[in-house]
Point group: C2
Chain length 599, copies 2
């Protein structure tokens, strides 16, 4: 039985739910065909199973340590990263002119999903390098690309993202790291960055930090943030690593999960000059970073999703294998016990997981596919349309899986009972790992403010309207299938409710400012999230019904499972939308007006 | 700032919300007065702060190990247990004729709550010994009591509960441990018990296992279960430990949390005779055990509560101290940052915690107080009434805090952001520890079946009707306070809904059997749980409004906080009841009828 991801589901999502193959018509992907797509996913799966999964527990129990000024990791991690880079995975989606495999992002995400499912904390090194590559492809100068892209793509250099600081996590406006212009063109970096994953290690010849910093004399707040390339070792003329660039490892953070990802506090320029190289223009750093946010945040959604997904499959296997108890009607204690999957409440825990993890997987792959569509859009109008849709979906694709796939891991533990709570099974690790996802790359609260404070009202509500149009199109398609009628009614009514809520909140914002409106952003985020996942489930159901071969013997169980999970979501989850919308319509101030001293 | 529990809240609950002092009118507690009650709570607090809290992280990182056939623990745990037993805490509620302090159970629970909040896994040794003492006081023979009670009360012996086996966790009907009659009056024990907390250690001179086993030739299933006292060392004539009783430690379980509680697999009689001593009559073991269930399960509810509670206080302190970000209206990045408690969404995370943990604490103390009332009831009719109420409240007092105080810990981590996810703060430990509570002493699913399959319909629905009567009385009292009107309306409507749901489910059970009805037990459990907590919040609010001094300057903030948390629960949580009741009324079979092969 598959324990990482369900391959049949990925095929369904890539080739039935999404028209991934049609991406190949584009010039950019002309080297690829269905066979090469399948091959890289298969390679990701094999790499995950052979090199990552076997040592995931070991890595969790033996996190990187700080010894003699260096970060030491277990050799299995080194071997896995070596296999990853040799397999071309650092450059899986990078352009071929830099040595990349130039796969569509959605396919790269599917392939790497296996690796993340096998060991999410070991996958982070590649994850961050992808982010660095993507950011640099977009905003670095040709000269910078010439120097850095190839070694990053080949995995000789690995990347990081340096945003947070000890005093400024969610509030980037208050970062203190400074970059002072030097006479030689580079900048001199100084200050401390915190929570830097993969910030120091010996897994690669060099580490390329992408650092947000302020140039003295620049505008205050986020408008004065610039982006810099800051390598661990400065480069020689031939591009090979040379002198140390004075980035001091000040300490490691020790976390509940994600233990294989070394997480660092870094001091820049404390003991000597630390050179940084400006990306793009001064004071546009946050703009560049935000342009990468969609991709990075959807990536976190994927991370949360795969942890939920592999947890689901582990608990499914256990439920099928473990005999215990009898059906309610069977009062004979000497009769044989049944596998626990026969118990309705266990099935409920499984369906809750399935509807969350398969719903999340469909959403994050849909967003990854949108990123491809954006990249290859044939007109600016089309590109803007896709980007706008992505803008509003991103906080949801980040936050919903982070919340509900963590909940799925909670259920997975419950299916195993006491065993699930032990370290003999990996599910407790998934649960610990997954707890990070509502925190990093913008906390749940920040996603709510991003959604309600910016996205739903931006460009006169264009993004929100676009989403409503998508919803309407889906409703129209779904109307062709009688079996979907009751779900479509529920969905339609949920959409009308959130439309009313959004209108009311926008009016409040216009009339009285953000204070009361934003006090409701957390609830709004979760509620619109449910509606989006409900939409994604109807889209999946349409895909099932539209498939003429869905009654074939080999396919029937799979499709039945999809429809059952959709039913579950509509019975057990969608009704929550109405109740939350009622609350949102009140523009409640219970929290806002609570006196801190009374808490 | 207090970080374990809020003393003012305990005082409110014990002496305003409950009339704990009136218990002292009873003969049983004649040695006590308000001063001695306060003194033991103060002693529990001090013990917790001085001896347990300081090493909780250390113990978590250094769990007991199995070395050279023995269990080794860090010395700090030994010292803490020593201080605990010397302080009289093993015998805190035990009768004075055995050397106990004979405190009311509700007071004992409040005092021990501090210790559990400080280190829940170290508290487990005392927790289990309390359970052993209570069970033996009720069902052991006078002779057995003479031998075992004093050393248990004095903490020279510690206790365990041996129910589960590797193949039988939730299904006690299928236990295999055997007890064969010997000619000498004792029984010979054989077989394996699993998940036995405190099952082996050197913390006491002896360990007294209370073991469920089957006597060969007895009835099948639960009707053939008997209860035995099985000491680690057999006792000499003078009551001191003598020869080993052949209980073999087969291994330790390694858990995600609760790491300080050694958790064992024990083989009985594998390498020689293992003597067990029958408690009460043969084949009545489960009956005895079930009579202790209310207390043990309410105790788990308390365990979950204190973890949620201390997590809340830690996150509250952090939120007050940590500056970050600005109010939505403040667009000036050079203005001073505000403490994060000023942000509405942080207040939401705090109020969600407060309403859960203070609601849970009120419920579990109320149940503990009912246990006292049951013990000292002046008529059999009164005793039965209280017991019946406890029967129906117990699955809720166990499950609701287990679910929602775990959720509270999740929120507490979120308040701290990245810091909350590190092991530098104890909240991630609370979160890991708390994940056990929905599993042990009957999983969440088992509680649901207990509630819906047994408790709500037993004695022709007597327990449920009794609960409705309690609800009605509270509604009547609340009607005196205008400010409570809207909450009472919501509560009343929730009660009417669950009444209808329960009627419908009972009819279904009578007409068609348990299958479909019990398929909905998980949702029913959570829903009635919300209503009970809603009831408890109204009772707390009544207590506030009824207090003439609530506007006094020194008290106002505390009472305002109570009312605010009540408001939060009614705005954000109670509306869920209506939506869940709609689902329950459908007697949904989506989960029941799911084909395992399609999952």
């Amino acid at each position: 039985m598959e324990l990482l991801l369900k391959q049949r589901d990925l095929e369904f999502l890539l080739y039935e739910f999404l028209d991934t193959e049609s991406l190949l018509d584009n010039e950019r992907y002309r080297e690829h065909d269905r066979e090469t797509l399948d091959a890289v996913i298969e390679a990701g799966k094999k790499l995950a199973e052979d090199k990552f999964a076997p040592f995931a527990s070991l890595l969790d129990a033996n996190e990187p340590i700080f010894e003699g000024g260096e970060v030491k990791v277990i050799p299995e991690l080194e071997q896995a990263i070596k296999a990853y880079t040799e397999g071309g995975f650092t450059g899986i989606a990078a352009e071929s002119r830099y040595g990349g495999m130039q796969y569509p992002w959605v396919v790269a995400q599917a392939a790497c999903a296996y690796i993340a499912a096998a060991d999410v904390s070991a996958n982070a090194y590649g994850f961050l390098t992808h982010a660095a590559i993507n950011l640099m492809s977009k905003y670095a100068s040709e000269e910078q690309k010439k120097v850095y892209m190839k070694p990053l793509v080949e995995g000789r250099f690995l990347g990081t993202m340096c945003l947070s600081e000890p005093q400024a996590g969610s509030s980037l406006s208050d970062i203190k790291v400074r970059a002072s212009r030097s006479d030689e063109g580079h900048y001199l970096m100084s200050g401390t960055k915190m929570w830097i994953s993969a910030g120091e290690h010996q897994l690669s010849d060099n580490i390329i930090h992408l650092v947000l910093a302020k140039i003295p004399g620049g505008p205050p707040g986020v408008k004065g943030i610039s982006l810099f390339i800051v390598p661990k070792f400065r480069l020689e003329a031939d591009g090979t690593p040379g002198d140390k660039n004075n980035i001091q490892l000040a300490g490691l953070n020790h976390k509940m999960g994600f233990r294989g990802t070394v997480n660092t506090v870094l001091n820049f320029g404390e003991k000597g000059d630390c050179h940084g190289y400006l990306v793009g223009e001064e004071n546009k750093g946050l703009f560049y970073m935000f342009h990468m946010m969609n991709e990075a945040r959807v990536g976190i959604g994927m991370t949360a999703t795969v942890l939920g997904y592999t947890g689901y499959l582990h608990s499914l296997q256990y439920a099928k294998d473990r005999p215990q108890g009898r059906h309610p009607g069977d009062k004979d204690p000497s009769s044989q016990q049944v596998p626990i999957i026969e118990h309705a409440d266990i099935k409920r825990l499984l369906l809750a997981q399935k509807s969350s993890v398969e719903g999340s997987m469909a959403l994050v792959l849909y967003c990854a596919w949108l990123l491809d569509k954006e990249l290859i859009a044939e007109s600016e109008e089309e590109r803007v349309r896709i980007n706008t849709l992505l803008e509003i979906l991103t906080p949801i694709a980040k936050s919903w899986p982070s919340e509900f796939c963590l909940e799925a891991n909670k259920h997975a533990i419950q299916v195993l009972g006491g065993y699930g709570y032990t370290r003999d099974f990996p599910i407790e690790r998934f649960y610990r790992d997954n707890r990070l996802n509502p925190i990093h790359e913008g906390t749940h609260g920040i996603q709510g403010i991003d959604l309600l404070g910016r996205k739903v009202s931006m460009q006169d509500g264009r993004a929100f309207k676009l989403l409503l149009t998508e919803f309407s199109e889906t409703i129209e398609q779904a109307n062709e299938f009688n079996s979907l009628r009751s779900h479509v009614e529920v969905f339609n009514s949920a959409v009308r409710l959130i439309e009313g809520v959004t209108k009311k909140i926008n009016e409040e914002k216009k009339g009285k400012g953000d204070t009361v409106a934003l006090a409701n952003s957390g609830v709004y985020l979760d509620t619109l999230g449910h509606i989006v996942i409900g939409w994604i489930w109807i889209k999946q159901a349409i895909t099932v019904f539209a498939n003429p071969s869905r009654r074939d013997k080999s396919a029937a169980k799979f499709y039945d499972g999809k429809l059952r999970a959709c039913d579950y979501f509509y019975k057990y989850e969608m009704p929550k939308v109405e109740e939350r919308c009622k609350l949102l319509l009140e523009l409640d101030v219970t929290c806002l007006e609570a006196d801190p001293e009374s808490l």
